[in-house]
Subunit: 221 residues, 2 copies
């Protein structure tokens, strides 16, 4: 089984690689907004194809491992969780691409306001992705609960951003299109944090098994 | 392999059962808003636990089938797709629950405007869920492309709803909290359609195999 152990190790590394690509996408998409760097935004959009390709590769590798090695119990659950996690990572990549698209549009107009909460949201979301993958590869069971809690912080920031933008829109209807775009960016980041939360939930499920998902997590809120 | 065929058939039925529960949740959550029926909204929220439980059950059954029957190629891909699809269905259930939560809040205040686009969005989203699951169990390859196209319609309605609500908010700041809640409902429905789109993409991938996902679908847009 030494070959299979090596294959599982390689699978973990690929998932972490995908995670790090996705983290970079989040970071760069928000940086392209804050620093008004549309070239960087276009790079994020271009690189999304690599994220998609790696997601498909990992999926194929998981299917191959299941078919060839016929893993049982823990290993099987690890592989099926990897398949699900990469789907979430790929969707986070799409959302970072959406942030970059809005950044390009916003960079074409004068800046409505300095960005403070949005980089903070991106930072938390990025940490959540990193920690949830860390918990996945190391099999941590406590850490995911901490990650799920941080999702509330991102939700609160999203509401705060939205309320602030409403204030701008009401004061001056000329700000509406820009404010709406910024509110979309905030919403994308909030959804990225949701996906990281989903990953954390799946890691808890993987570690603890049956019937923990949904129920116990709800009880912990 | 007659037993395995029977198990696969039972799995299909359970996925369809979950789909039909989720469809009902979408329908009822929007009806609870339109008909200002908070009791119905509370029923949607209560029933979400059943959706979560069935999601976990299907996941367990898929893992059991993989471990016990060691399926290959087509059957294995069908089972792993079922695992992913149910994750999307469960999240649609959560979003319907969110619609019901906003409905309860909105039903406590006077009605801002008649709901026209929102029931339309719910109807399309519901059809998308139904058709994508139909394609999944029957192995259709053309239909998913049609489903993906309908997502654009929902996106457009969401933008239309948002613009209309902005108009209300600008005219009269007293409408802001209600308008914001309605815009959330619209956004939840838009995300439900996104999940249905994801299911359709996974069905195409399941049927056609390697490297179709993301790339071909993007080319078809």
């Amino acid at each position: 089984m030494a070959i299979f152990d090596e294959e599982l190790r390689a699978l973990k590394e690929r998932v972490l690689k995908l995670g790090s690509m996705v983290e970079t996408a989040i970071h760069d998409s928000v940086r392209s907004l804050v620093e008004r760097d549309s070239d960087l935004a276009r790079e994020v959009i271009r690189k999304d194809h690599q994220i998609n390709a790696l997601d498909v590769e990992i999926d194929e590798e998981c299917t191959r491992l299941i078919a060839l090695r016929q893993p049982k119990a823990r290993d099987l659950r690890f592989i099926t969780t990897a398949m699900k996690i990469t789907t979430d990572l790929e969707r986070i990549g799409d959302l970072a691409e959406n942030v970059a698209e809005r950044a390009i549009e916003l960079n074409e107009e004068s800046q409505l306001k300095p960005y403070i909460d949005i980089p903070r949201m991106a930072e938390i979301a990025q940490e959540m992705v990193r920690d949830s993958l860390d918990a996945f590869v190391k099999g941590y069971t406590k850490m995911p609960y901490e990650i799920i809690k941080r999702d509330d912080e991102v939700d609160k920031l999203n509401v705060q951003v939205f309320n602030e933008l409403l204030f701008y829109m009401i004061q001056d209807p000329n700000t509406i299109s820009r404010a709406a775009r910024i509110s979309y960016v905030s919403k994308y980041l909030e959804r990225i944090a949701d996906h990281a939360t989903n990953i954390a939930e799946m890691v808890i499920y993987m570690c603890k098994g049956k019937m923990i998902r949904h129920t116990e997590i709800q009880g912990n809120e």
